[in-house]
Symmetry: C2
Subunit: 417 residues, 2 copies
């Protein structure tokens, strides 16, 4: 939680946090600013003190919504600095940043740098700044383990309320897609038809998903997955828009909408087969569902997350599938890790890979996914089931949005002969 | 254009370009990869050679769509490197990058680094890499003037076709909003009503704009502007969702949709007053329109863009308004610069500020906005007109999407008594 930041800074010997960039789609800045159209801001927080937001004068109204202490860029005469820097804008920006630091009484110490922003200019500015402020040491941290990722790892009730709201939106869209698909007419060759009698494509379904998410005021990163057959068997394939929708093929539907402007995510997957399933597909689905349920019964407060990855690998290997436990980077069978934290980042701590540390645990407050799956691209099949779970302060594990687990979806106007 | 990159690298004495991050919302990576769900990739291009894309094995199908030469991350044993690096993931990433460089025969030289990505980990990795590859010099460039911004500054027919398509979508949405607003019922106190008889809010209009953009398969960054009254007078205020829509108030509608996944933008603004306008508002609007037209008649091939900023400032000052020409950071009058390039970035070269260099010109191939405006927040008024223009290779300046310039929009069911 945000209140952990000072202790985290202390543990890493960081005197100052420096965050650069816009508020949107920039988790460290969003975490402080709370979204809004604040572009190219600079946030500086000394350990044990409130953060200060330096912002464009034109964006003062948006910046004020953050509730942070504000300082407009116009306090610094960039034109003058630009001249002094011989029209080198990187150096001028470094000189302005030096002035900001000095205004906050920072002349030395370890400064952690954060943000999703333009790497090139940031690297250029920091190189200059390092030269003009030799007593300051600038520090980069790993994406997975920065003080931000650590602070954000545990969520409070307010954060979870926002994630839960995205879960409601997610499952409402999924239900709408299910209703739409099962209402379609079906041609003799088992191809689904649109209202106008032409074949329904995967691309048509993608468009509806985008629309139905937007209608609910959320945003959907490209890369959501509605993939059929072979594509369903490649975990990150988004689905081929030209494919026709047919009965009896496995459909992996993995969707992770976020609050508009880069806020909290929800992460969710179901696997469907329309009308009927082949016996082989049904058997593989049942295995995925069995370990999914077993995991749900076994999640223990404070247990290392990777214990459950191991459990999943062992289960799948006992059924004759490959897994990362004994195969390096398998491309069929169980090919990924069990889950990940979800928050302002779609992937954040804790992680579940076999290689991650024991400190990735089911601590009270974490929000995680559980998403076992099986993939057989050559057989034209893939399966994954995923819910987003909150490890409550009372130790109970709560699914943040309930949704049924049916694999075969009966078609309203079609019956197997 | 992309074909300029090698010459630009030569001019800056860069031997290698290194691009980091995902393809979406990351213009340098998008420029090469062309979008798609490629996350956490590394692109390395030596001067005079084709670029190579290092990618996650799971994303091979998406990466293949780029048409680039591919190398999967699994060529490098990260687990082994992680152990060797004593579980320091930044160092392990640096060691993997060293191996990638060596596989491409890069052992020394100047390497420009680019991408919108996590600053912290990138800075950390580059710091390690610099130590293990001391013969390589890593270089950051300013956002506004990097080799990418220079290459992207001029667009070819294919780029412009994509921008023009976004212009069509933009103006179609604007027309739909106009139709919707002018069809509303109006209460005695001049408040617009929704179909259900309750007052129409700015937030309702925001939701419709989002929906109608999504319906057309484009994406709309938060921060689009539909702002009324005082908010219209603050250039970057997005509009207060709780405000009621009323007749006779200035509405600034600034919208910049992009191709889904972070592709090409279109940028567009109109100012409206529903039903009627106050005489003062009409007079100020007419001034904005007058200089907008005058600019359109005066744009000259290869002229410095800032000449037109000066022309705009002089015009507005002649009418008694403040402008950046003689007032530092004015907050009323004409308060910004005239325009900017548009492409994979909503703001890119050429720029028009009075401080920018003479090399920001109306070169053949640039796509720019022209967007003069006037702002009087204390009077509750703001005005801006903006089109996106292409400086064609034949020297003609083309508005990429035509749309009428009416200020007062007559209401279909309401007449001034």
């Amino acid at each position: 939680m945000k209140s952990d930041l000072d202790a985290l800074m202390q543990a890493r010997n960081l005197d100052v946090i420096l965050v650069i960039g816009h508020a949107e789609h920039n988790p460290p800045m969003y975490y402080f600013v709370g979204g809004g159209h604040v572009s190219h801001a600079t946030l500086i927080k000394k350990r044990g003190e409130e953060a200060v937001l330096f912002h464009n004068d034109m964006e003062r109204d948006e910046a004020a919504k953050s509730g942070l202490k504000l300082m407009p860029y116009s306090n610094y005469d960039f034109e003058e600095l630009f001249k002094k820097a011989d029209r080198n804008s990187l150096l001028a920006s470094a000189m302005r940043m030096e002035a900001m630091f000095k205004d906050l009484g920072i002349e030395a110490g370890r400064v952690g740098v954060y943000g999703n922003y333009d790497i090139s200019s940031t690297f250029g500015v920091l190189n200059h700044l390092q030269k003009i402020m030799p007593a300051v040491e600038f520090v980069g941290e790993s994406r997975e383990d920065s003080v931000f990722m650590r602070a954000m790892e545990t969520k409070d009730e307010a954060d979870v309320a926002r994630i839960r709201r995205m879960g409601k939106i997610t499952t409402a869209v999924v239900a709408q897609v299910r209703d739409y698909l099962t209402s379609c007419d079906v041609r003799d060759d088992e191809v689904l038809l649109k209202e106008d009698g032409t074949p329904l494509t995967v691309g048509d379904v993608h468009a509806k998903i985008r629309l139905w998410v937007a209608e609910r005021g959320a945003e959907l990163p490209e890369g959501f997955i509605f993939a059929v057959g072979r594509d369903a068997g490649v975990p990150h394939s988004t689905g081929n828009p030209a494919d026709l929708m047919r009965l009896g093929r496995t459909i992996v539907f993995d969707i992770y909408p976020a609050e508009a402007g880069g806020g909290y995510f929800y992460d969710f997957t179901r696997t469907w087969s329309l009308g009927y399933a082949t016996p082989e597909a049904q058997e593989l689905y049942d295995q995925v569902k069995e370990i999914f349920d077993k995991l749900g019964e076994n999640f223990d407060l404070n247990a290392p997350f990777k214990n459950y990855q191991r459990m999943t690998c062992e289960y799948f290997e006992s059924k004759g599938h490959k897994s990362p436990l004994n195969t390096k980077a398998p491309t069929e069978g169980y090919v990924h890790s069990l889950g990940h934290g979800v928050g302002l980042n779609i992937h954040e701590r804790p992680f579940s890979g076999l290689m991650v540390g024991e400190d990735h645990r089911l601590t009270p407050g974490v929000v995680i996914t559980s998403e076992p799956g099986l993939y057989y691209p050559e057989k034209g099949m893939g399966f994954r089931i995923e819910d987003t779970l909150w490890v409550r302060p009372d130790g109970r594990i709560e699914t943040l949005a309930e949704y049924p687990y049916d694999f075969v979806l009966p078609m309203k106007k079609w019956k197997k002969e």
